[in-house]
């Protein structure tokens, strides 16, 4: 086995996903076969190969630090499930 049920539960915690029992089972088996498949990358010797993060080389993209019109509070908040006093409202973080 490439991945255990316990690891799947741990990764679900990192990904902030609440999973049902049958989802944990299905994901354990799916991820196991996908991870077994991607093992084939180890057939390739890659010591000294520079990793590619972006295929088309881009230098840092700078711009002038000028003040420009922005979205504005009401538009920025228009899709929020809950807002109050011009802020996004979330459930209590600290007890």
């Amino acid at each position: 086995m490439k991945i255990s049920r316990k690891e799947v539960e741990y990764v679900a915690g990192l990904a902030r996903l609440s999973l049902r029992e049958e989802e944990i089972e299905a994901l354990t088996s799916d991820m196991d076969s996908i991870l077994a498949y991607v093992e084939k990358l180890n057939e390739l010797e890659t010591a000294g190969i520079i990793p590619t993060a972006h295929a088309v080389p881009v230098e840092n993209a700078f711009r002038e630090d000028e003040i420009r019109p922005s979205l504005g509070t009401s538009k920025a908040l228009q899709n929020s499930p809950e807002s109050e006093n011009g802020c996004f409202r979330v459930p209590k973080v600290i007890e």
């Binding site: 902030r16 190969i49 295929a55 088309v56 993209a61």
Partner: protein, 485 residues
Amino acid sequence: MELTDLTLYELQGLLTRKEVSSTDLTKIYLNRISSVDPRVNAYIRVAEEEALRAAEKADRRLQAGEGHFLTGIPLALKDIFITEAIETTCASRILAGFIPPYDGTAVKRLKAQDAVILGKLNMDEFAMGSSNENSPFGAVKNPWNPACVPGGSSGGSAACVAARMAAAALGTDTGGSIRQPASHCGVVGLKPTYGRVSRYGVIAYASSLDQVGPLTRDIQDCAILLQAVAGYDPLDSTSIDTPVPDYPEEIKKPIKGLKIGRPKEYFIEGLDPDVASAIDRAFATYRDLGAEIIDVSLPHTDYAIACYYLIATAEASSNLARYDGVRFGQRIDPGEGLIEMYRQSRAAGFGTEVKRRIMLGTYALSSGYYDAYYLKAQKVRTLIRQDLTEAFEKVDALLTPVAPSPAFRIGEKTADPLQMYLSDIFTISINLAGTCGLSLPCGQSREGLPIGLQLIGKPFAEEVILRAGYAFEQATEWHLQKAPL
């Protein structure tokens, strides 16, 4: 010949000569959608009021002789493009009710020409899929055979163009999501070079691979639509500031002497015999047109899918972290604090394939596995890119199949995610390498399903593969085939 059968080029002529108004044309398309789409399911949302308003405005521009190329022409957009005041969901429950406060750059550029946006098109949720079966709005049906998939993830875009429910559409391609559905639906689809079209206002899946492109009836239309959306955008720091050629003019140049590579790794055992013979005939056509066919090798092709499903899922797991029930989208709050609100909102909002990819990507990036999976995949990406760079020292373009088989049946591959992933084998390397790829119709299977060929070009050489595609169209009639709807 009906008006909905006409190309962008032909419609532009009719509109400019005032032989038809944009309002009438838009109404004809809206009627066509109401009569045909119940059998195809390409649209998530038809924006009738907005479309008719845009058509009226376009008619005023045309009356005043101020039209641009796309003025008054009805188009449609994959639901991954955010559109001001029109609900945009990326085919996910987690974005139900999301009304974007602004337009993305590609949409802005279409609107600047007074194109008419008919609505938003179905897709695999967050562009994750190869069959358009991963949509809470239901699977899209292939207009050539409703028992078959249209391909994915831009399945709605390809089906919509094939079924004449818009003159052309925009899609996105992360691993083949424009080219593969274009091939399965018998239309033209282009994935431009990474950085050619702005991604600003396009909902992100895998940011180093995603690219916007057109799905159209023919190559000339593809050149016209690419022309409209291509070019540098300061709002996308990965868009490249390099001149945009005059594509509609460039495609008409001759292709005699063009060197076309035949990568042997793309002609594998298991390639559908109808696809193989259609591609063989395409090579013969190119020989007749004066092109030189040269055998080349892309030795790391077999590693592309493994490489892609680590890099794309890793980037997706990071991009999709923003769906947390705070700033937009659905919130499920059981009243057990912030973290539980995140966990429940995401659990209820994402579909199975999206969860699978978030999990895989989170695992590949997690402590202890990063080097073994993500970093390893990035190094293999370098090798895949080098393969293409070396091939392009010998040839101007490559010709390959788009997909190993014509459109498969709905439900055929849903039980095994890995089998589904393998259907992208011929398109994925192009995204990893960041270069451009074009799919155009080149045949039909014995069951009457369309087959596409892929032309792969050097970075920022879209005009070369479009020119090769245009020459093929002049010599054949596959692009004139119409889905029996």
